[in-house]
Amino acid sequence: MHVIIDYDVGNLGSVIQSFKKAGFELLVSRQVEDIKNADSLILPGVGAFKGAMNALKQTGLIPYIYDHVKQNKPLLGICLGMQLLYESSDEFGTHEGLGLLPGKITRFNTDLNVPHMGWNQLRFNQPNHPILKYIKPNDYVYFVHSYLAKTTQDTVIADTDYDGSVPAITGVKSVYGMQFHPEKSVPVGAKLLKAYKEMIA
């Protein structure tokens, strides 16, 4: 069973729908037992870092998320959910994250429009990575974010270009992040979820 962590971050409808379409047996839960028994965890998220991190803390699930990762079981963060996996964020003050991926979240430093909102193309840093199996370089996915991960290049599986490199798919061991919205990125998002499912099976 794959568990979407439910911590009051808005409407999960489209995330649930897209994972189901990709064949995931899915549960949306904040129960400790469900998190403990999960084959994989999915951490969604929209909104601001601090509020989301606080909401996640309130669930009391963070120790169980760490346990899950210690057992090398897969965890995928999406959009703000990905950002929470990093060490810290500068969004409205400095806030600690889960520290499961190396680096920190900082605001775009660009003259271009912020948020980075719209369809942008993926570049492959690790072309042989199994998560990229069904997609091609320059395929488009849908981004909406004002902050990005400053991380080590070897953890970036794919990035996009928006006045510089923007980590798009990142991963270390069993912990993965997607900065864009796979659930809003038909059909490329669906292909990524399909590959992810096969990869963690």
């Binding site: 429009n113 912020v114 369809w119 091609k136 488009y140 990125s185 059909p187």
Partner: protein, 254 residues
């Protein structure tokens, strides 16, 4: 690489059905919004914009059921507007599965609505939709579905909206709307020079060349009847834009 120009079909919904009028009147029934939305998503639309133009508040509550149906059918982003007056309206619409909510008249009457909504949901959720019409040598903002002229200057209002937290501007050029004579390029140019958020051009698309002309001055190109009545196919439109070196998301194998 840069962001692709978004091609955005616009669906006016009244009492749960997609309709299309000209210059905001002469309204014709088109299709079930969820059916049309799915078709456009499959054809390569980058985003969809819905306006609920249901006249009464009671009927609007029922009409908004289409939002849930649309969210189930498509996996591209979409915004919903029309009659949005309060932060609670945002909650309702976002909860039904929309990605963004657009405000128009209510924001003119109560600009703090933009600020409150942006603080609660983030700027990316808040679209300021502006109905503008040329009066003398400047553009004025209209409210109540184009029926009421205000003294607000379009450019100034757009700037103020962005300062308050709007993450995107949909610019409806009322004189061009439904006329199929092209987007109002002069207005888009002025906006583009002024704003730092995405601008969606709306009103006037009749031919593929109109999209090509407006592309440099807008992040998204919105149109309704040319798509609804099959005059322009999204896929071939994007192919033509691509051939004109305009960055668009071309269709990939599913």
């Amino acid at each position: 690489m840069m962001l692709a120009k978004r091609i955005i079909p616009c669906l006016d919904v009244r009492n749960g059905r997609t309709v299309k009028g000209q210059k905001f009147t002469e309204i014709k029934d088109v299709e079930d919004p969820a059916v049309l939305a799915k078709r456009y998503a499959l054809e390569g639309a980058d985003e969809l914009v819905f306006y609920d133009i249901t006249a009464s508040n009671e009927k609007r509550a029922i009409s908004l059921e289409f939002v849930e149906k649309v969210a189930k059918e498509i996996d591209i982003p979409f915004s919903v507007g029309g009659g949005v007056k309060t932060v609670e309206d945002f909650v309702k619409i976002l909860h039904k599965g929309a990605d963004k909510v657009s405000v128009n008249s209510a924001a003119v009457h109560n600009p703090s609505l933009i600020k409150e909504a942006a603080a609660r949901f983030g700027s990316q959720c808040v679209v300021l939709s502006i109905d503008g019409k040329k009066v003398g040598d400047r553009y004025l903002v209209y409210t109540e579905g184009g029926r009421n002229q205000t003294n607000l200057d379009v450019i100034e209002w757009a700037k103020q909206g962005v300062a308050l937290g709007a993450g995107e501007i949909v610019m409806n050029a009322m004189d061009a709307d439904g006329m199929k004579q092209g987007y109002d390029i002069a207005l888009l140019k002025q906006l583009k020079e002024t704003l730092t958020v995405p601008i969606i051009a709306s009103g006037g698309a009749g031919k593929v060349s109109h999209f090509i002309e407006a592309a440099p001055y807008a992040d998204g190109l919105l149109a309704a009847s040319v798509f609804h009545f099959g005059e322009i196919a999204i896929e071939s439109l994007k192919q033509t834009l691509h051939e004109h070196n305009i960055l668009v998301r071309l269709k990939v194998e599913r």
